[in-house]
């Protein structure tokens, strides 16, 4: 109540190549150290996705049975695995593929889930029943079983595994967006827009989506990590990334057999996954706050 009385001082200045708004977004984002840390982590891994292979001391598949299962040392900073492959090199080579299999299925899930959820929540009625019950059917099958079924039907490959994960994932977005669209539709400004003669499409795009963007970001950044782990699970049963691939999830699941004595085989890729998930999460939170004009204006 008190805050609302404190009118802002957003004088428009036309110098610089950023608008006042964009500068405000940047300012809020940079003010939050955690979100900057998240951005740093994400940028770090994206950079490594590109230059990692060049930096790797060994080729990812080079085996060295003499030094297999050797702990971290000067020659192998993160140790070697059961075939004597350099864990660090595999980590660096696996960065790009791991990021991709995290991002792509979630992106597909968002592309399917957001419009269906928005339509269901906004229009209601039979459309809603149809969409939401379909989503429920997908949700009622255990995720991994469904993914296995999909990959089994399409044939095991990385691409099919990604399709499988998006099939498992979209209903969550539909549900999230559905509930948000439902409550937003009852807000007076949506009714006002209808009263102004706005079309349904315009209302969904101009009034609903901008108000839901932040929760999509947060949910998406959280899911990224789960997607990597699910892909690893699929890989583990032979339906995702296939054995010699340096993908992290695969490395974690295969290295598990050697725990706890030879912990470095699983732990380092695991830490890498952890840091990616953490990075995207912090970034997601930061973006959400920076995009909210009400937080920004204070």
């Amino acid at each position: 109540m008190i805050q609302s009385d404190l009118s802002g001082d957003a004088e428009r200045s036309r110098n610089g190549f950023l608008t006042q708004d964009q500068r405000d977004i940047l300012r809020i984002f940079l003010r939050n150290r955690l979100s900057v840390l998240g951005l740093g982590i994400v940028v770090f891994w994206i950079v490594f996705a590109f230059i990692g292979p060049a930096l790797a001391p060994f080729p990812p598949q080079q085996m060295d049975f003499v030094h297999k299962l050797s702990p971290p040392s000067a020659a192998h900073p993160l140790g070697t695995d059961w075939l004597g492959r350099d864990v660090l090199s595999r980590l660096l080579h696996g960065t790009s593929i791991t990021l991709l299999i995290g991002v792509i299925p979630i992106a597909i899930a968002i592309v399917i889930g957001v419009p269906t959820g928005a339509i269901a929540g906004y229009f209601g009625g039979r459309v809603e029943t149809l969409i939401m019950r379909t989503a429920d059917i997908f949700l009622s099958v255990p995720a991994l079983i469904l993914a296995i079924a999909v990959t089994a039907a399409l044939g095991p490959s990385l691409v099919n595994a990604m399709i499988a994960v998006s099939v498992v994932w979209w209903p969550w977005y539909t549900r999230l967006i559905h509930s948000q669209a439902l409550s937003l539709s009852k807000r007076v400004f949506v009714e006002a827009a209808i009263g102004l003669g706005a079309s349904h499409r315009a209302i969904i795009i101009r009034h609903l989506l901008p108000n839901m963007a932040s929760s999509i970001f947060v949910r998406g950044s959280l899911d990224l990590g789960f997607a990597v782990l699910t892909m690893a699970g699929l890989g583990f049963i032979g339906m995702g990334a296939q054995a010699p691939s340096p993908e992290w999830g695969l490395a974690v699941s295969l290295g598990r057999r050697f725990m706890p004595e030879f912990w470095w085989i699983s732990v380092f890729p695991g830490l890498a996954i952890f840091s990616v998930v953490l990075g995207f999460n912090l970034l997601g939170d930061g973006i959400r706050d920076a995009m909210d004009p009400e937080i920004r204006g204070r």
Partner: protein, 347 residues
């Protein structure tokens, strides 16, 4: 006329809040005295600090740093010196609060009977000085004494609801808050506030959400309860009409300060502060020409004008108003005003 010693005396209350844009002085040097049996109205617009003052009395402010100076004397004790445990005994038992929003003040998963029963049980537990209050007693249905207490409190709940004129209290105790209308919920809240037999009720705009015919009934109820039980009410409102009808004494707040205070008849018939006067005329709304606007907006609490905070909006402003700070001075019988200008002269 009331001659006893005051029931509640707030002295030089200072409340500050930390916001993202800096610290602001929400309440600045408020003095407020309430005598037994008196209904005191605290008027102000949103952001004037009236609700903050009320919450300070019960020490339920949530934003730091909160109260930075002042004294709040309740009978012989300064509430600001009390420990949290002692304070929780004061809340509900000596001073109770009725809030603006009857829906969110009631727990949606318990029936109104259960909520009132628990409030009665708790007040009985707290007032029982032989043992340390323990929330165990609230769920104790296993001992014979516990069951007896429960039965007694449940019966009392029905009785209390009858006193606040809730129709068919026997049936209503079994209802959940959402099954009641706004007016009925406000009656339940009133009953809840009286459960601990407090001698001061702080009512924070309790009728704002209600329709006029229901509002009239609730105001009547409050007045009757004061008469029959001899308690006092601090009635916080932005509606001058309600305050004029209900209260004995009125204090007007602006930008965290009390700008005028007098007995109800005096303040409405002879307002001495231009802000009070403008508020009264804005409430009357007889015709368009009569409609006095107060120019400008409620001031930004982070950048209050120097001198008298009201001067940028004041029709009677003279040069000194912007530089000198006026004092809350006695201007008549039991009448104080913070305007130093009379007939265009600073006095």
């Amino acid at each position: 006329m009331v001659t006893d010693s005051p029931l509640l005396a707030v002295r030089n209350l200072q409340v500050r809040f930390e916001t993202l844009r800096g610290e602001l002085q929400a309440v600045n040097g408020v003095d407020l005295t309430i005598y037994p049996g008196q209904i005191v109205g605290l008027i102000g617009e949103s952001g004037s600090g009236k609700s903050v003052t009320a919450k300070s009395i019960l020490n339920v402010l949530s934003t730091p740093p909160g109260i930075t100076a002042g004294e709040i004397w309740y009978r012989e004790r300064n509430l600001l010196d009390l420990s949290p445990r002692e304070m929780s005994k004061i809340r509900g038992q000596s001073i109770a609060m009725v809030s603006q929003d009857p829906m969110s003040s009631l727990n949606p998963v318990f029936t109104v009977g259960e909520q009132l029963r628990d409030a009665l049980l708790w007040s009985e537990i707290v007032q029982d000085s032989t043992s340390e209050p323990s929330s165990w007693n609230l769920i104790d249905r296993f001992t014979r004494a516990g069951r007896r207490r429960f039965r007694r409190a449940s019966a009392q709940a029905v009785e209390d609801l009858r006193q606040v004129e809730l129709p068919a209290p026997h049936q209503q105790v079994k209802n959940y808050p959402h099954q009641l209308s706004g007016g009925m919920r406000q009656r339940v809240l009133t009953a809840l506030a009286w459960a601990g037999q407090p001698d001061l009720i702080i009512a924070d705009e309790p009728t704002t959400a209600l329709d006029v015919t229901i509002q009239a009934q609730i105001l009547m109820l409050l007045q009757d309860l004061v008469k029959t039980r001899g308690a006092s009410i601090l009635y916080i409102s932005h509606d001058l009409g309600v305050v004029a009808q209900l209260c004995d004494r009125v204090a007007v707040m602006y930008a965290g300060e009390i700008v005028e205070e007098a007995d109800v008849r005096e303040i409405f018939e002879n307002p001495r502060h231009p802000y009070t006067e403008a508020l009264i005329r804005a409430t009357t709304m007889a015709s368009e020409d009569d409609l006095v606007e107060i120019p400008g907006e409620v001031p930004n609490m982070l950048a209050l004008p120097s001198g008298c905070h009201f001067w940028p909006r004041c029709p009677m402003m003279i040069e000194r108003c912007a530089s000198d700070t006026p004092l809350l001075a006695v201007v008549g019988p039991n009448h104080k005003s913070k305007c130093a200008v009379i007939h265009g002269e600073w006095v």
